[in-house]
């Protein structure tokens, strides 16, 4: 119901939504540990794919965006009450871990699974 209410209300964000291709979504992005300056201690993997989220959040936060109720309310507040309250932001929703093999300063070798290192999907919140 909150979604229906919002869609009936004209507001500045309606004009700012822009074309659908600019909507909040996941972008693949790869970086090497060499570029991050960590290749002197990380043995594997050589490449890291953190990905990122980018794009505008729509006025109506549809189900697929997994937005929490708070984001829907904040959208309403932005449109109906106070425009200094920002619209929700496009941010990662789900992450997956990455396994890293590295050599520690004392020469020991460490295998470690780091949580939340790769963005897998995006949300507006």
């Amino acid at each position: 119901q909150a979604g229906n209410t919002a869609s009936e209300v004209p507001g500045p964000s309606w004009r700012n939504d822009g074309p659908e291709r600019n909507q909040c979504s996941l972008y693949p992005f790869q970086v090497s540990f060499r570029q991050l300056g960590w290749d002197h201690w990380i043995i594997a993997p050589h490449l890291y794919t953190p990905n990122y989220c980018k794009g505008a959040c729509p006025r109506v936060l549809h189900y697929g965006l997994n937005s929490p109720n708070h984001a829907i309310i904040q959208n309403l507040v932005n449109e109906l009450v106070d425009q200094s309250v920002p619209q929700p932001s496009c941010v990662p929703y789900k992450y997956v871990p990455i396994s890293i093999l590295l050599i520690e300063a004392n020469g020991n070798i460490l295998y470690k699974e780091y949580e939340d290192m790769i963005a897998q999907s995006c949300t507006c919140r």
Binding site: H40, A44, P97, I98, S99, L101, I103, A105, L110
Partner: protein, 244 residues
């Protein structure tokens, strides 16, 4: 800030848990990758390939049973002894203080059970250090020791989980796991002393500690369960009224 060393950027945000961890574990920018070659490195590369794909994604069917594995090499200043046909090394593996968020799953030691040097074959085994182990008949080879598991023609793996839990400190006050690496000449009775001094203890054994990271589950469970319990205790009917 392009071109600035990444550790300098990390140091600007030292309070973030991941950053703290990286700063703790990463060697300095000037320090190049420590030289680790041979079997220890190969062992960990094999373990990595079994547990993760080329892009670093942990494999669904991985059998490692832990989220962190640390390979520890023995300290270099080990005592070397010669007793008849037996060559004995005392290996001290440095152990860090227990980290609250990590639970030790198991510990194993991988060692050479066969060494071929200068036409001599040496048969070796490891025994956990105990106060009286250097007395009487020597060595006992297996009595009261964990059962080793043959990895290849030359390398064996042995479970030492119970021994890692024990507390032992070396003369420098460092907590260590102390093991005896014992080798016996298989051919002739001639005492072969020279090889011992030319063989580094780093090439003969290494310790593997398997940990599980309990931090995430603890962090997630606490606020949910405690918060909900408190709320429910206070007034269970409130929840129903609000929903209505």
């Amino acid at each position: 800030k392009v071109g600035q060393p990444s550790t300098a950027l990390l140091e600007e945000a030292p309070t973030l848990p991941l950053i703290q961890k990286l700063l703790e574990e990463a060697p300095g920018e000037q320090q190049r990758k420590p030289r680790v070659l041979g079997h220890p490195l190969q062992y960990m590369l094999d373990l990595y390939q079994r547990s993760a794909d080329a892009r670093g994604h942990p494999r669904e069917n991985r059998t490692i049973g832990a989220t962190m594995v640390r390979l520890i090499r023995p300290l270099t200043n080990v005592a070397k002894q010669l007793r008849g046909p037996w060559h004995i090394q005392t290996l001290d593996f440095p152990l860090r203080p227990n980290q609250v968020a990590y639970q030790l799953v198991r510990a194993t030691v991988v060692y050479r059970h066969q060494i071929h040097l200068a036409h001599f074959y040496l048969s070796c085994h490891l025994e956990p250090w105990v106060q009286k182990s250097l007395t009487n008949h020597f060595p006992s080879s297996g009595r009261g020791s964990p059962k080793p598991f043959l990895l290849s023609n030359a390398w064996t793996e042995m479970d030492v989980t119970q021994h890692v839990q024990q507390r032992h400190w070396n003369h420098k006050g460092l907590r260590v796991l102390r093991l005896h690496f014992m080798c016996q000449q298989q051919k002739g009775s001639e005492v072969l002393d020279l090889w011992w001094h030319g063989t580094s203890s780093l090439d003969t054994a290494f310790l593997l500690l398997y940990f599980n990271d309990t931090h995430k589950s603890v962090q997630k469970a606490k606020p949910l369960t405690r918060g909900l319990e408190k709320f429910m205790e206070r007034d269970s009917s409130l929840l129903l009224r609000k929903a209505r």
